[in-house]
Symmetry: C2
């Protein structure tokens, strides 16, 4: 319980890695206090991950669920944001190396909060990892949206029923909340929006959405009654639910299940598991099988007194068998506690232990379909659960403008079955159009009298 070193003789520096929910809440708790906060993230925005699947299914724009970190801390003089990728952590020298502008920058800290979150876990299925789509990052949501829309556009060219079936069969692996929400949204996009627009000379398309779960029930952490309600609601929407079937492999053209079933599809969305961010390994301590950093109940990393880990990255060993889910409320509450424990240490006061205040869990399935398990006591399903989900998420979303915009989108989508964000926007290949234009064929030329080359509107 040594006080923090203030190496420069100035205010102690708290370095936070990750601007997800854990890092954000830590930085907020430290805003306006007597420390200097440096917040690092690979992106210049915080991602509201619970709605990633709505970006992937063209219901929301990326910026609806991404909020610039600098805007969040605009008025907090002691919080400094820097965009960059952490390359190394030297806990002995209290130094983090961050790559930005192509250079490696070394940053000193007095206390470190590691809050880098989690990544998709494919459980060693390497081929599947190459061909399936993850849904943990904003860029992945846009990539998936582009991919799905392109599948339908390509199907419109084809007279081959097998090709068209593989193009318009969308499979979600994993029956947790993310898998369920994604499957429901995919059904609504493909059946209520795209199917109507792809009639014509090629014949109509018959999109299918299939949810595959390895265990014999959906939503493992919910009571059985709500698990059943979720399955019924998914099926009433039109989603085909396959239970008790682990995935053998996906190869980009078909999905093979352990039981032998083969589903022709080019779109497999992997929501079956997560593991801690690879950044956890940079701390140099032994990790759990899912790559998480074992921490004390005070969220200190064992053996590293100035380092805290929070959120999906952290595994709390409290000796009582308690396990906290890798979810947002845990990350938020842990981020807040880590910040407070650092301030307590500065004031030579004792560290506090983490206690999770669980307000319950909920998942939406589609219009007027949802399940909720409030305070782990009140079960809701159908319309009441859906309304609760809607209001909670609107209140939760950061920033007034985003909330209004999202509301406008949701009301519009609800009334019209429209998905205005369904644009295929790619900019990976050509840096700009000029590179394409450089490949023009030579032209024969005839000169008219006068010609305005300047663009005018």
């Amino acid at each position: 319980m040594t006080p923090l070193k203030t190496s420069t003789g100035r205010r102690p520096v708290v370095l936070i890695i990750g601007a997800g929910f854990g890092g954000l809440f830590a930085a907020r708790s430290l805003a306006g206090t007597a420390v200097d906060v440096i917040l690092i993230d690979r992106h210049n925005y915080h991602t509201f991950t619970p709605l990633l699947y709505q970006v992937a299914t063209a219901g929301l724009d990326p910026s609806h669920i991404a909020y610039p970190v600098r805007a969040i801390f605009r008025r907090d003089k002691n919080v400094r944001f820097l965009m960059g990728e952490v390359e190394a952590i030297d806990t002995a020298a209290r130094e983090v190396t961050v790559r930005a502008n192509g250079d490696a920058h070394r940053l000193q800290y007095d206390a470190l909060i590691a809050a880098a979150g989690s990544v998709t876990h494919y459980f060693g299925l390497e081929q599947t990892a190459r061909h399936a789509f993850g849904l943990k990052e904003l860029s992945e949501a846009v990539i998936l949206r582009n991919h799905i829309l392109k599948q339908f556009e390509q199907a419109a060219w084809s007279d081959d029923p097998a090709y068209r079936e593989a193009s318009t069969t969308l499979v979600v692996v994993g029956g947790g909340p993310t898998g369920i929400e994604t499957a429901g949204a995919l059904l609504e996009l493909s059946r209520h929006v795209l199917q109507n627009e792809f009639t014509g000379a090629t014949g109509s398309l018959r999109p299918r959405v299939i949810l595959v779960e390895a265990s014999d029930r959906l939503l493992a952490s919910y009571p059985v009654r709500l698990q059943e309600a979720a399955r019924r609601q998914l099926q009433s929407l039109g989603v085909e639910v396959i239970l008790g079937e682990p995935v053998e492999q996906a190869d980009g053209e078909r999905l093979l299940l352990k039981g032998g079933q083969i589903i022709p599809t080019r779109t497999v969305i992997w929501s079956a598991g997560v593991r801690a961010s690879p950044l956890a390994a940079m701390l140099g301590v032994p990790l759990t099988p899912a790559g998480r950093v074992p921490v004390r109940p005070t969220l200190e990393v064992a053996g590293l007194p100035d380092v805290y880990a929070v959120g999906d990255m952290a595994y709390v060993q409290d000796g009582q068998g308690d396990r906290y889910p890798m979810n947002i409320p845990v990350a938020e509450q842990q981020g807040t506690l880590a910040a407070r424990n650092i301030l307590r240490r500065l004031a030579s006061r004792p560290q506090e232990s983490f206690r999770y205040h669980d307000r319950g869990i909920m998942a939406t399935i589609g219009r007027q379909r949802a399940v909720a398990w409030l305070y782990n006591r009140v079960p809701l399903s159908g319309y009441p659960a859906w309304l609760t989900w809607l209001v909670m998420h609107l209140l939760w979303l950061m920033g007034f403008r985003n909330r209004i915009s999202v509301l406008v989108n949701w009301v519009w989508n609800y009334l019209t079955y429209d998905r205005s964000a369904r644009i295929i926007l790619e900019h990976g290949g050509l840096r700009r159009r000029a590179e394409h234009d450089a490949l023009l064929p030579p032209e024969r030329t005839v000169a008219p009298e006068h010609e305005l080359e300047i663009a005018r509107r």
Copy 2:
């Protein structure tokens, strides 16, 4: 004036290349008539190009100005959209080759409307073409937005004043409407939004926006009084205006002007010229110096009786010295006329000649700043011109939802000086996160009693 051949014995097929304003208005005019329309575009959306600069400056989301083509023609049974890249046009065989799904598809037509628009023209400045940013496509707007925001994030790491100056100096080349609007929006983004968020330990940034024009006046097609008003309004906003200075070269680190002046900048936006789409060359007829297709006043391509060209691609030779600007109203009116002339020919009625109904021109400069030249008679500048611009563009935007969304954004941006869309969203390098995760360092492992690897919220 031969009637169209209906090769299959079915309804005549009108093939339209390009879903810009020309192609869209042509397809709309043919919707519900006795022809089958095939509309081809590289993208699955129509781009509302007048607001591209607002996406590039983080004021609007991409989907605000992009509307799925299939949604536009959802109710028109005789209009079929296909996404693909045109590779070849065989006017003798009446056949267009389109690449999609990696295959080349050949489409027969009875009449063809070429409406592929224009691309950025660098007038042979090859190095500049590689380093400057064009602003003709939605992907270019997103690339430019990402680039500008990254420049500021990188400047935040640097203690070198020269590096920071080059990062935060934004130069627009070309004093036409696009250049002026872009310069004004860049000034508002960099000075009113970003500058406030980049204070801190590195010292504050001093963004500059410079507009460079080769001739000695802005807005060549406006009356002198409005040219002067535009310059004054830009300067009152804070934009540095350099007139009479052609560009020598941009190399990615600095911009060199013909007069010898060197501006250190990594951000040069090229709005100085456009040329016809390279697709024009596929018609196999002699083109104008700017690559445009010479057409008769009826919009028929000389020597190709079943081919029409409209919009930026087309150069109308009417023998009276009339030159139509490369702008949206001309494209819309020509698209409509080409469609009508095809229907007239089918009915063995005479072709009509193009006459441009000019309702005037306008350009916005920033909040409460604009110039307008209504019906080439009524000059407006300042607040009245800005209000006119605002109302006209809201009415003009396609689709109810986009209009509401854009309005919400504009009101919010106006009241708060906020730019919520300022996220750096790239997905070019890694196809998905898994490819990154595959590069993880090996981990040491310690097994805790129980661990949930399934994502739960």
